[in-house]
Amino acid sequence: MMDRRDFMKYAGLSGLSLASIPLLKKLSAAELPQGSSHATKQLAMVVNLRKCLELDNCTKCIEACNQTHNIPLIDNPDDNIRWIWKERFDRAFEDQEHEHLTESIRWSPLVVMCNHCENPPCVRVCPTQATWKREKDGIVMMDWHRCIGCRYCMAACPYGSRSFNWRDPRQHLAKIQPDYPTRTKGVVEKCTFCDERLSRGQLPSCVEACSEKALTFGDLSDHKSEVRELLSSAYTIRRKPSLGTGPQVYYIV
C-alpha cells in the first residue's frame, strides 16, 4: 500500500514531468534537420554521365583543375592529392549499385569531387574554422592559413573528397602555376568550386575545360538557372543521400 507521503511524492513528480513537455518539444524541434528550400544562393554542379562517358578515358576536366591549382601528381593512392578525380560506380554510388547495370555505367570510372554539402560534416568537426560553409553561395570553403592538419575533416567526409599533404607537393609538380599558391606538407585540401575564378567572373576550370559540356554549374535558388532546368528535365542521383549531408553534385545517369 502506498502511504500518504509516497502518494504526494509521486504526484509531485508527475506534475513536474508534465511541466517539462514544452521544453522537450523545443529540444526535439531543434534536432530536426532544416528543409532544403534553398532560400539563399546554393551553387551546385550537374554531371551528365551520358555525355561524359561518351569519350573514353577523357581527363580534360581533371587536368585543367590540377594545373589551375598546382595539384601534385603522386601515384601512390595513400598520399595522392585529388580535387576532382574518377571513381568506379560501385565505389561512388555504393548504395545504388547492382549487377544488372549497363556495362558503361558499371565499369567506366566517373568524375567525383567535393559535394559542397548543404549540411557538411567536415565543417562541424573542424576545430579552427579552417573550413566553413560560405553563407552567400553555399561553397564549402578552405582557409589553408588556418588548417592545422588534424584531419578530423577527412574522417568526417563520407566521400573521400579531402586529401592530406603527406609530402612537400612542390617535389611532385612538373610546373608551378604562379597565380595560385601551392600547399605545404601538413595541410588538408579539396575542391572549392574555384572560388578564386568565380570572384573574377569565370566558371570553374573543370566546367570550362569539358568539351562535351557534360558539366553544368550554377545556382539552385535561381529558378531559371541552367542547373535547375537540367534537374527538372532529367532524372538525377546524388552520392550517399541517405547520410543526410545534402550533396550538391548531381548526376544524370
Binding site: H145, A174, Q177, P178, P181, T182, T184
Partner: protein, 139 residues
Amino acid sequence: MPRDFNRIVLGLAVFLALVLTPVWTNLFRSVPPLQDPEIATRNIPGKDKCVLPSVEMKVTHMNLLNQWRDSVVRNDQRDYATADGRHFDMSLSRTCMNCHTDKAKFCDRCHNALAVNPYCWDCHVEPLVQPASMGTEVR
C-alpha cells in the same frame, strides 16, 4: 699570498674566456654592412608609390598582408582601395611582388638582418626575377 694563487688566477681566466666567447668572437667578426632594401620601381610611373606610405609600410606591412589574406579568403573581397583613391588586387604574389620583383634584394634583405622568416613562400610562389612566360620551373 694565498695558497694556489696562480692556479686560481689561471682558472678564472679560462672561465672568463669561455663565458665571454660570444662577445669576443663577435668583436673580431666583420659584419657586412646592413643593406637597404632595393626599391626597383621607384622611378617607374604608376609603380613609384607603395600601397601605403613607405614609413607605414615598414612598420605595418605584415598587418596589411594579414588583412588582405582574411579579406580575400574569408570574405571574398579582393579589391583594396587606398586613401588616395588607388585600387589594388589584394594579392601577395600578383601585387606586392609585381613591384617588388626581386624578393632576395627586397623582402629577404630586411628579414635576414632581423632574423624574421615568414613561411608564406612555402605556398605562395615567389616570382622569377626574369619574367617567365607562363609556368615557373621547379627549383
